[in-house]
Amino acid sequence: MTKKKFILTFPPTLIEEPITYNLIKNYDCRINILKATVRPKAEGRMVIELNGSRESVAAGLDYLKKIGIQVEPLAQEVHYIKERCSHCTACIPHCPTDALSVDREEMKVSFHGERCIICEACLPVCAYKAMEIRF
């Protein structure tokens, strides 16, 4: 099994293509859409997490490339700099996936990268600059 995140960029002509359906149905990939911007007559962008056997993920990616979608591995990540965090909890209501959470007993903040969808909502919210985006 392999699990990886990718940024897909597709030209306006491919907006109609049901790519998630095809990835699931024809390539047996579990797909998790982390972020999507799809507008009529404009370039679309989608951040997905692909989960499946090595072969099916490879075949799925092959399919995407073949129909003209640009596929890049997601190298961008949100980093939590523990030493800078003051545990004030200002970020908590802004994190949509509980990647940032609080132990209410300790009143201590922690970051769970695997739940982060790189929405970047925490970045302007942290006054201590404990959240950073890295490429």
């Binding site: 003051s86 004030c88 909890t89 300790e106 006054a127």
Partner: protein
């Protein structure tokens, strides 16, 4: 039976004082009753760690040769302008000052990555800063231009002096408009998307001495990791704010002006912060010991989050326009649970004041007292009372 501060100090010196935090005393009082606790406990330690904008530091700079009079001239520390309208060598650096070329909110919301508060943090962390100054030159102070690198130890004096800190209670900020707003209460999402609060509640110094019986001018405190003093009531000190039955104010009330030697402070406890769309500011830690003189002080220091209420204020219209409107009240137990139910809506909460750090301050001060290296002070004069 009541105790005096002198008696408690004798116990501290002998290492025999019983010291608990403002959190620990809550359970203790529930179990043993206020009367017994008044006999058993000598000191309760409080703590808070939060952005406190009315903060700054003054410095006395060693004279170069030839000498220079900065008073009436212009001076900067790491490009952050400082106030130089004193004598030849004194400057004041405000926490929220920022470089002249900072874009501020021209690109909205501004990031405010560097300001006076960051200079203070860097100095306390042992880093060098660049002082640049221009002066008009006099017969006794001919030097007109100076640029030099300095670290904290190079200043003759470096004193943290904050005109308004340690607010006794504060607003809970929400946003009832349809757009995101960037305020000093943090990023507030539209349609009451979040509610931000800013107090350590039951651990906060003035919440535990609501009528200012023991905290007054001259009170020795934990300040920025070092020792400081309450030197005056803070600006906007408003003892007449409405209070609950427990005498705790239901909105911002008392405040403290505090002062202390910056050279003994610690960057862990004095942090430069950047509030998006608002500005740079300084996160300050303050811990105040409260002598348990009698039963009333036990009752005061045993106050709990669920009995401390804060006003909910809209920061999209009511706050900026100064309408004075309060949308409702919520207590700190609910605020700290991560969610409040307000006007029929579940609203996630965020803190600006770090309870985790407040606890560390109270624990540190407790250790100092137990080791006998920190003594209590009689107030020289009281804060204006209710």
């Amino acid at each position: 039976m009541s105790k005096t501060i002198a008696e408690i100090n004798e116990k501290i010196k002998k290492g025999k004082a019983v010291v608990v935090t403002a959190e620990e005393i809550i359970e203790l009082t529930k179990k043993r009753g206020a009367k017994k606790v008044a006999q058993e406990v000598d000191v309760v330690t409080t703590g808070t760690f939060s952005p406190m904008c009315s903060s700054g530091a003054y410095f006395n700079v060693k004279q170069p040769t030839p000498k220079m009079k900065m008073g009436g001239g212009k001076a900067y520390l790491n490009n952050v302008p400082v106030y130089a309208g004193f004598a030849a060598a004194d400057i004041f650096l405000g926490a929220t000052a920022m470089p002249d070329d900072d874009p501020r909110n021209a690109v909205y919301p501004g990031q405010f990555l560097y300001g006076g508060a960051h200079v203070i943090e860097e100095l306390v962390a042992g880093k060098m800063v660049i002082l640049t100054a221009t002066a008009y030159g006099t017969d006794c102070y001919p030097n007109k231009k100076r640029e030099t690198k300095l670290s904290l130890k190079d200043f003759n004096d470096a004193v943290l002096f904050n005109p308004r800190n340690g607010y006794q209670n504060y607003n809970v900020g929400i946003n009832i408009s349809d757009r995101v707003i960037y305020t000093y209460m943090g990023v507030l999402r539209p349609r009451m998307g979040n509610a931000n609060y800013c107090s350590a509640g039951q651990l906060s110094p003035l919440m535990n001495d609501p009528m200012y019986r023991t905290i007054g001018l001259g009170t020795r405190i934990f300040l920025g990791g070092g020792i400081g003093y309450v030197c005056w009531p803070g600006t906007q000190h408003t003892p007449t704010a409405p209070r609950g039955k427990n005498k705790v104010p239901k909105s911002g009330a008392g405040t403290l002006a505090v002062i202390g030697d910056l050279k003994q402070m610690n960057a862990q406890w004095l942090r430069g912060v950047s509030i998006t769309g608002y500005g740079p500011t300084l996160a300050v830690s303050i811990g105040i010991p409260i002598p348990i003189l009698d039963e009333e002080m036990v009752v005061f220091t045993s106050v709990e989050d669920k009995d401390i209420w804060a006003p909910v204020v809209d920061y999209s219209y009511d706050y900026p326009q100064g309408t004075g409107k309060i949308l409702g009240e919520v207590n700190y137990a609910d605020l700290k649970s991560g969610k409040i139910t307000f006007k029929g809506k579940d609203i996630p909460t965020g803190g600006l004041s770090s309870y985790h750090k407040a606890r560390e301050v109270a624990e540190t001060l407790k250790r100092w007292l137990l080791k006998g290296k920190f003594l209590l002070t009689e107030p020289v004069a009281s804060l204006p009372g209710a």
